[in-house]
C-alpha cells in the first residue's frame, strides 16, 4: 500500500467530516514526515481504509444498529443485561443522527422498527422523540438538545466492554462505534458484571452529565433538625417530669442532658439569636443508640439559616399539647385515617389541602375558585357566622359570599385560572394558593380575605408550600424555576433554576434550610435556601414527579411519580434507598407520620397505602456503606370507594387526614 494513497484517503475522510484544521495539520505533517516515515502497519491502514469507505447512506445506521442488536441478544447471559443497556443510547442517537442529516423517512422507519425494545423502560422519552421530524426540531426541543449535549453513563464490567469493542471492530461498524464513542461514557468496573437489580441506575442521564450530578451530590448538607424545636422542648419537659417522678434510667438521662443544655441556654430567643453549633455529629452519634421510637430526637441539630418567625405562646402551648397527646405509630400500631370526600365537584377539583389540625379543608377548583370548609363548624352551621361572612363581602369584593344562602364553605375568589395548589400555614390562619394565572395569593382564614398577590412567575404555578415554621413559602412553576418567598415581600427571595423541565412539586426540608423540587425531567433536586444552589440531584424516576415528602428527622425524602412508583432517598448520600412499587396510578400525595415511622401515600388508583419506614432505615443504617437496602414494607392498603386521594396530612397527634373528590364512575 502506498503511503500517498493512504494519505489521500485520510485527507478525503477529514474533508468529509469537515475537520479542516486537522486536515491542514495532517497535510503539513505528512509533508514533513514524508522523508523519514515508517511504514504504516497494515491493519491501521485497513482501518483508515474502512473509514474512508463509509457508506454515506442512511441504511448504515439501520444495519449497524440491527447488527449490534442481534449480537447483543445472542451474547452470553451473564453479560447480556449489561450489553443491552448500550442499545438504548445507540438507538436514540442513531435516530437523531438520521434526523439531523435530513433522512426523515428513514429515521421514522428506523424508529418504528426498533422502538418496541425500549418502550418498557423509556416510553415517555420515546413519545417525546417521536415528534422530532426535522433538524430544526432537534435544535428546538430541549430534551433532544440535552441528549445531544450530554453523555450517557453506563456501568459495565471489563469483560463486557471488551466483548463490545471486539464485536464492533470485527464487524467494522464504524458508525455505531462513532456513536458509542461520542455519546456514551463507559464506567468500566473490574470484576463481575453488576447485578440486574441496579438496572434503573445503570443508564442514567441528567442535564449536566452524571459526573456533574455526582459532583453536586458530594456537597455537604446538614440534614439535621433545627435546634430548639418544639419537639425538643417537649422532650425536655417530659424527661424532667420523668426524672423527678421516677428517676428513670440513667442512660436516658445522660443522653437528654446534653440535649437539654442547649435549649436552656438559648432560651426562648434561641430562634432569633444565631447560635453557632459546635458538635453537629456528636449529638447524632450519641443519640443513635437511643430507642427507635424517638427517631426525631436522634437527628443532629443545625442552626437555622433563615431568620425564624417567633411563634406566639398560645399557639406554642396548643402545639405542645398536641405533641403530648401524640399517638405513637409503628408497623404494628397503624394510624386512624379520617377521609374528607368532596362531593359534586363536577370534575373541577384540581387540588386539595388539609390544615395541620385537620379542621380546615381547602379545595382549589378549575373555575379559579378556592373553597375552604371548616370541618369543626360543619356540624353546627350557625347563622351568625354566615352573616358575618356577608359583612366581609361588602369590604372585600373579591369575596364571593354574596350568593349567600346556606353555603357551607368560604369561597375565595381572585384567581383567573385553575387553582393548582393550596397550602395552609402551620397554625392555619393563612392559606396560599397558586394558579394557572401565574400568581400566588395569600388568604386569611380569619378575615376571609385576600391579603397579598405574589407575582413573579411567568407561567402557571404548579405548586406552593408553606415552610414548616410558616412565614416563608416556596413555589414551583412551569417556567422551570422554584422560588422562595416570604409573606411580607412581593418579590421572591431566591430563584432556583436548573431543572430541565417544569418544576411540578416542591417540599420544604424539616429544618427549613433546604427545599426539594420534583420535575418533569424525572429528577428531584435539593436546593440550599440560603445560597440558592442545587445541593443534590436524585436520579432514578422514570416519569414525572408529582409528590414529595420529607421525613420528620430530615434524613430521608420520599418522592412519588406519575407511574405509581415511590422512591425513598437518603438525603446525605443522594441514593435511592428503596423503590416502593404498589400503586398503579399517579401518586398525588405523600406524608410521613410525625415520628417518621410510617409513610402514607395517596394515589389516583383510589387507595391510601401505608408503608413501614423503620424496616428500611434500620437496614440501611447497618448496611449504609454497601448501599444495600431492603425494600420498604407495605403495611396496609386502604381502598376508598372510587375516590382518588388528592391530599394527605398527618396531624400533630398522628391522625391521618386524607382528601379526595368522589369520581362518579369509578
Amino acid at each position: 500500500m502506498e503511503e500517498d494513497e493512504i494519505a489521500g484517503y485520510v485527507t478525503a475522510y477529514l474533508k468529509k467530516k469537515g475537520f479542516t484544521q486537522t486536515e491542514k495539520i495532517f497535510q503539513e505533517e505528512f509533508q514533513t514526515n514524508k522523508t523519514n516515515s515508517s511504514p504504516l502497519e497494515p491493519d491501521i491502514a485497513k482501518h483508515i481504509l474502512s473509514f474512508s469507505q463509509l457508506e454515506s447512506g442512511p441504511a448504515r445506521f439501520h444495519d449497524g444498529y440491527s447488527r449490534l442488536r442481534s449480537w447483543t441478544h445472542c451474547s452470553l447471559d451473564l453479560y447480556k443485561h449489561e450489553l443491552l443497556r448500550v442499545l438504548y443510547p445507540v438507538f436514540i442517537h442513531c435516530f437523531m443522527d438520521l434526523v439531523a442529516k435530513g433522512h426523515v423517512q428513514e429515521a421514522r422507519h428506523f424508529f418504528n422498527t426498533f422502538r418496541e425494545d425500549h418502550e418498557m423502560m423509556h416510553l415517555r422519552d420515546l413519545q417525546k422523540l417521536e415528534g422530532v421530524l426535522s433538524p430544526t426540531h432537534l435544535e428546538e426541543m430541549e430534551f433532544a438538545h440535552s441528549l445531544r449535549q450530554s453523555k450517557f453513563n453506563i456501568k459495565i464490567c471489563e469483560y463486557s466492554y471488551e466483548l463490545l469493542l471486539q464485536h464492533l471492530h470485527s464487524t467494522q461498524s464504524t458508525t455505531i462505534l462513532g456513536i458509542i464513542n461520542e455519546h456514551i461514557n463507559f464506567q468500566v468496573t473490574p470484576g463481575q458484571p453488576s447485578s440486574i437489580v441496579d438496572d434503573p441506575e445503570a443508564v442514567t442521564l441528567s442535564g449536566s452529565s452524571q459526573d456533574a450530578a455526582n459532583q453536586i451530590n458530594q456537597k455537604e448538607i446538614h440534614w439535621g433538625l433545627l435546634e430548639d424545636s418544639l419537639e425538643e422542648r417537649l422532650e425536655k419537659a417530659s424527661s424532667l417530669l420523668s426524672d423527678s417522678e421516677k428517676g428513670e434510667g440513667e442512660a436516658k438521662e445522660g443522653e437528654t442532658e446534653e440535649n437539654k443544655k442547649r435549649p436552656v441556654e438559648g432560651g426562648k430567643q434561641g430562634a432569633s439569636i444565631k447560635k453557632v453549633k459546635k458538635d453537629k455529629g456528636g449529638s447524632a452519634t450519641g443519640k443513635n443508640t437511643k430507642a427507635e421510637v424517638n427517631t426525631v430526637s436522634a437527628a443532629p441539630r443545625v442552626k437555622p439559616e433563615l431568620p425564624m418567625p417567633i411563634i406566639p405562646s398560645e399557639v406554642e402551648q396548643s402545639i405542645l399539647e398536641d405533641l403530648r397527646n401524640r399517638v405513637q405509630l409503628s408497623s404494628v400500631a397503624l394510624p386512624s385515617v379520617s377521609f374528607y370526600t368532596f362531593l359534586n365537584t363536577h370534575n373541577g377539583l384540581s387540588c386539595s389541602s388539609i390544615s395541620h389540625d385537620g379542621s380546615l379543608v381547602a379545595g382549589g377548583f378549575s373555575d379559579s375558585s378556592l373553597k375552604v370548609w371548616d370541618m369543626a363548624k360543619l356540624g353546627e352551621q350557625t347563622a351568625s357566622s354566615l352573616s358575618q361572612d356577608e359583612n366581609d363581602t361588602s369590604q372585600n369584593p373579591q369575596m364571593g359570599q354574596s350568593g349567600g344562602g346556606k353555603r357551607q364553605y368560604t369561597l375565595f375568589q381572585g384567581h383567573s385560572g385553575p387553582v393548582y395548589a393550596a397550602s395552609f400555614s402551620p397554625v392555619g390562619e393563612f392559606i396560599l394558593s397558586s394558579s394557572a394565572d401565574s400568581t400566588i395569593r395569600l388568604w386569611s382564614t380569619t378575615y376571609n380575605a385576600n391579603l397579598v398577590c405574589y407575582k413573579g412567575h411567568n407561567y402557571p404555578v404548579w405548586d406552593v408550600q408553606f415552610s414548616p415554621v410558616g412565614h416563608y413559602f416556596a413555589s414551583s412553576s412551569h417556567d422551570r424555576t422554584a422560588r422562595i418567598w416570604s409573606m411580607e415581600r412581593i418579590q421572591p427571595l431566591r430563584i432556583m433554576a436548573g431543572h430541565l423541565s417544569d418544576v411540578d412539586c416542591v417540599q420544604w426540608h424539616a429544618n427549613c434550610n433546604y427545599i426539594a423540587t420534583g420535575s418533569s425531567d424525572k429528577t428531584v433536586r435539593l436546593w440550599d435556601v440560603q445560597s440558592g444552589e442545587c445541593v443534590r440531584v436524585f436520579v432514578g424516576h422514570r416519569s414525572m414527579i408529582l409528590s414529595l415528602a420529607m421525613s420528620p428527622d430530615g434524613r430521608y425524602m420520599a418522592s412519588g411519580g406519575e407511574d405509581g412508583t415511590i422512591m425513598m432517598w437518603d438525603l446525605s448520600s443522594g441514593r435511592c434507598l428503596t423503590p416502593l412499587i404498589g400503586h398503579t396510578s399517579c401518586v398525588w400525595s405523600l406524608a410521613f407520620s410525625c415520628e417518621g415511622s410510617v409513610l402514607a401515600s395517596g394515589s389516583a388508583d383510589c387507595s391510601v397505602k401505608l408503608w413501614d419506614v423503620n424496616t428500611s432505615t434500620k437496614v440501611s443504617r447497618a448496611e449504609e456503606k454497601s448501599g444495600n437496602a431492603s425494600r420498604l414494607r407495605s403495611l396496609k392498603t386502604l381502598p376508598t370507594k372510587s375516590t382518588p386521594v388528592y391530599a394527605l396530612r398527618f396531624s400533630r397527634r398522628n391522625l391521618l387526614f386524607a382528601g379526595g373528590a368522589l369520581a362518579k364512575n369509578g
Binding site: 421530524l133 404494628v332 384540581s350 370541618m375 389516583a604 386502604l638
Partner: protein, 512 residues
C-alpha cells in the same frame, strides 16, 4: 407512518380555501404540524396531571395552548367528555356529532336543574389501621393475611416478596359483638322494639356483609333445632299431661306450622321437606304407633298439600283403612277413647283425601264432552257402595265400551276385593245409627247424608245413562281425567259418600 401526512395538510388547506398549495409546502408543513401537535399534547398532559385527573379533557388542551401563547380553540368547553362517532365506511375516521338545534326549542326548554353545590363529607377510612365496615368505605377485604404471619415471613427471608398465605377469615370485634347480640335477641326477645331495629339494621347495613355466612349458619342451625321439636308436637304419642288436654288442636296447629316452615324455607333448604315427609310417612305406616301419632302424621302430610297426599297417603290408604276399621267399630273396640281416636283419624284421613280430590278436580276445566264417562265411572262405583246394587254395577261395567274396558278391568279386581270393607263400613254406619248410641252424632248425620246422596245418585244415574254413546272419540281427555277419576273412585270405595262433600257442586253435578 406519521400521524399528519402531506395529504392531510392539503385537505386542511382546501377546507380553509387555499386551493393552490404547492406540494413542497405541504411536505414541509406536515412534519412541523405533527411536532407542534405532539408538543401541545405533552403540555396538555402536564395540565391534566396538575388538575389531579387521569383523563385528558378539552380544558387541558386549552390550558396547554395558552401556555404556548396560542388562542384556545373555542367551542369544546363542555364539561362532559366528547362523544366521537365513527365515520361510515372508514375504520379510523371519527367525528364529533354536531346536531342542529332549533333555537325555539332551546328557548322553550325548561331550565335545567341547578347542579348541586360542592360539599365535603367526613368519614373514617380506617381506625387504627382497620377499615370500619361502613357504607362510605369500599367493601372490606375481609380475607386478609394476619399481620403477625406477614411479619414472620418478612423476617425469614430477605427477599422482598409478598407471599400470600392461606387465607384466614378475620372478623372485627365489633362485628362479633353485633352478631352475638342479634342472635341473643332473636332467641330471647324477638318481640322487642330493639329486635325490630336490629332487623332493620340487618336489612340495610352494607357493612355487615362479612357476617352473612354466620347468620346463614345460625338460621340453619336454629331450623335444625326447631324442626324436631315441632315434629314432636305433631307426632308424639302423648301431648299434655292430662288426658283431657286438647292435643288435637295442637296437632292441627303444628301441622299448619310445619307446612308454612316448609313453604318458607323449602327453596333454600332443599331436603327439609323430604326429611319431614319421610318422618311423617314412617309414623303413618307404622301400625304399632298410636292412633294419635297417626293422626298427627296425616294432618302434617295433609297440610303439606294435596300433591303430598296423593303421592304418599293415597297409595297406602286402603291397607290403612282396613287396619283402622276395627278400631272404629263399637263391637271390636270397647275402649271409648280409642274408638274416638280412631274416628278422629278417620276424619282426618277423609279430610286429607277429600282435599286432595277437590284440588285434583279443580284443575280440570269443565269439559262437557267427557262428562258421560266420568259419570259412567263414578256411577258404577257409587252404586257399588251400596251393597244391594253391587250386581247392577257389575253389569254396568260390562256394558262399557271395549276401548275403556282394559282400563277398567284392572280396577274391577280392586273394586271387588275392596268392596267388603266399604260394605262393612256401611254396615257400621247403619249399625251406629240404628244402635243410636255412644258414637258421635256426627257419624250418624253423615250416614243420613250418605243415604240421601245415594238416592240422588241412583236417580241421576238413570238420566245419565242416556248420553253414553257420545263418548268414544274423546279418549284423550278421558285418559287425563282417568287418574283423578280413579282416585276418586278408590276414595269413594273407601269412604263411601263421606267424600262427596269435598267435591264442588259443579263437579259433583258433572259426575252425578
Amino acid at each position: 407512518m406519521s400521524i399528519v401526512g402531506k395529504e392531510r395538510i392539503e385537505v386542511i388547506a382546501q377546507s380553509i380555501g387555499i386551493t393552490n398549495l404547492s406540494p413542497d409546502v405541504a411536505l414541509s408543513l406536515a412534519p412541523d404540524v405533527e411536532y407542534r401537535l405532539r408538543d401541545i399534547m405533552q403540555e396538555s398532559i402536564k395540565c391534566m396531571r396538575h388538575s389531579r385527573r387521569t383523563t385528558l379533557t378539552a380544558d387541558d388542551v386549552d390550558s396547554a395552548l395558552s401556555l404556548r401563547n396560542v388562542e384556545p380553540i373555542y367551542g369544546f368547553a363542555s364539561g362532559g367528555p366528547l362523544r366521537f362517532k365513527r365515520a361510515l365506511g372508514h375504520r379510523d375516521l371519527f367525528y364529533i356529532e354536531d346536531k342542529d338545534l332549533d333555537l325555539k326549542d332551546v328557548i322553550e326548554a325548561p331550565l335545567p336543574k341547578a347542579p348541586l353545590d360542592t360539599a365535603v363529607t367526613c368519614h373514617w377510612l380506617a381506625i387504627e389501621g382497620v377499615q370500619p365496615a361502613i357504607p362510605e368505605n369500599a367493601p372490606v377485604d375481609v380475607i386478609s393475611v394476619p399481620a403477625e404471619a406477614k411479619k414472620n415471613e418478612q423476617k425469614d427471608d430477605n427477599l422482598p416478596v409478598d407471599i400470600k398465605l392461606p387465607v384466614k377469615h378475620v372478623l372485627s370485634r365489633e362485628l362479633q359483638l353485633y352478631f352475638d347480640k342479634v342472635t341473643e335477641l332473636t332467641l330471647t326477645q324477638s318481640e322487642s322494639v330493639l329486635f325490630k331495629e336490629a332487623l332493620v339494621s340487618l336489612a340495610t347495613d352494607s357493612g355487615l356483609h362479612p357476617l352473612v355466612p354466620y347468620f346463614t349458619c345460625f338460621i340453619a342451625d336454629e331450623l335444625h333445632q326447631l324442626m324436631p321439636s315441632v315434629v314432636t308436637c305433631l307426632v308424639a304419642k302423648r301431648l299434655g299431661s292430662r288426658l283431657a288436654d286438647n292435643h288435637w288442636e295442637l296437632r292441627d296447629f303444628t301441622a299448619n306450622l310445619v307446612a308454612s316452615i316448609c313453604k318458607r324455607f323449602g327453596h333454600v333448604y332443599s331436603n327439609l321437606q323430604s326429611r319431614l315427609t319421610k318422618t311423617l310417612v314412617n309414623a303413618f305406616l307404622d301400625p304399632k304407633k298410636a292412633l294419635t301419632q297417626h293422626y298427627g302424621a296425616i294432618q302434617g302430610l295433609a297440610a303439606l298439600g294435596p300433591n303430598v297426599v296423593r303421592l304418599l297417603l293415597l297409595p297406602n290408604l286402603e291397607p290403612y283403612i282396613r287396619l283402622l276399621e276395627p278400631e272404629m267399630l263399637l263391637e271390636k273396640q270397647r275402649n271409648e277413647v280409642k274408638r274416638h281416636e280412631a274416628w278422629r283419624v278417620y276424619g282426618s284421613l277423609l279430610r286429607a283425601a277429600g282435599q286432595c280430590i277437590y284440588d285434583r278436580l279443580k284443575i280440570f276445566p269443565t269439559f262437557p264432552s267427557s262428562l258421560p264417562h266420568a259419570v259412567l265411572k263414578t256411577n258404577a262405583r257409587v252404586l257399588m257402595s251400596s251393597p244391594y246394587k253391587r250386581k247392577a254395577s257389575l253389569e254396568q261395567l260390562e256394558e262399557q265400551p271395549p276401548l275403556k274396558k282394559t282400563n277398567t278391568d284392572g280396577e274391577v279386581g280392586v273394586v271387588l276385593t275392596n268392596s267388603s270393607p266399604s260394605h262393612k263400613q256401611g254396615e257400621a254406619g247403619t249399625q251406629a245409627s240404628s244402635v243410636d248410641s255412644i258414637i258421635g252424632s256426627s257419624s250418624a248425620s253423615e250416614q243420613m247424608k250418605n243415604d240421601t246422596i245415594s238416592n240422588a245418585v241412583v236417580r241421576s244415574n238413570k238420566v245419565d245413562t242416556r248420553s253414553w254413546k257420545t263418548s268414544a272419540a274423546l279418549a284423550q281427555v278421558w285418559k287425563d281425567e282417568l287418574n283423578s277419576g280413579r282416585i276418586l273412585v278408590s276414595l269413594f270405595e273407601l269412604f263411601g259418600e263421606d267424600i262427596l262433600p269435598f267435591i264442588q257442586a259443579p263437579e259433583l253435578y258433572m259426575f252425578l
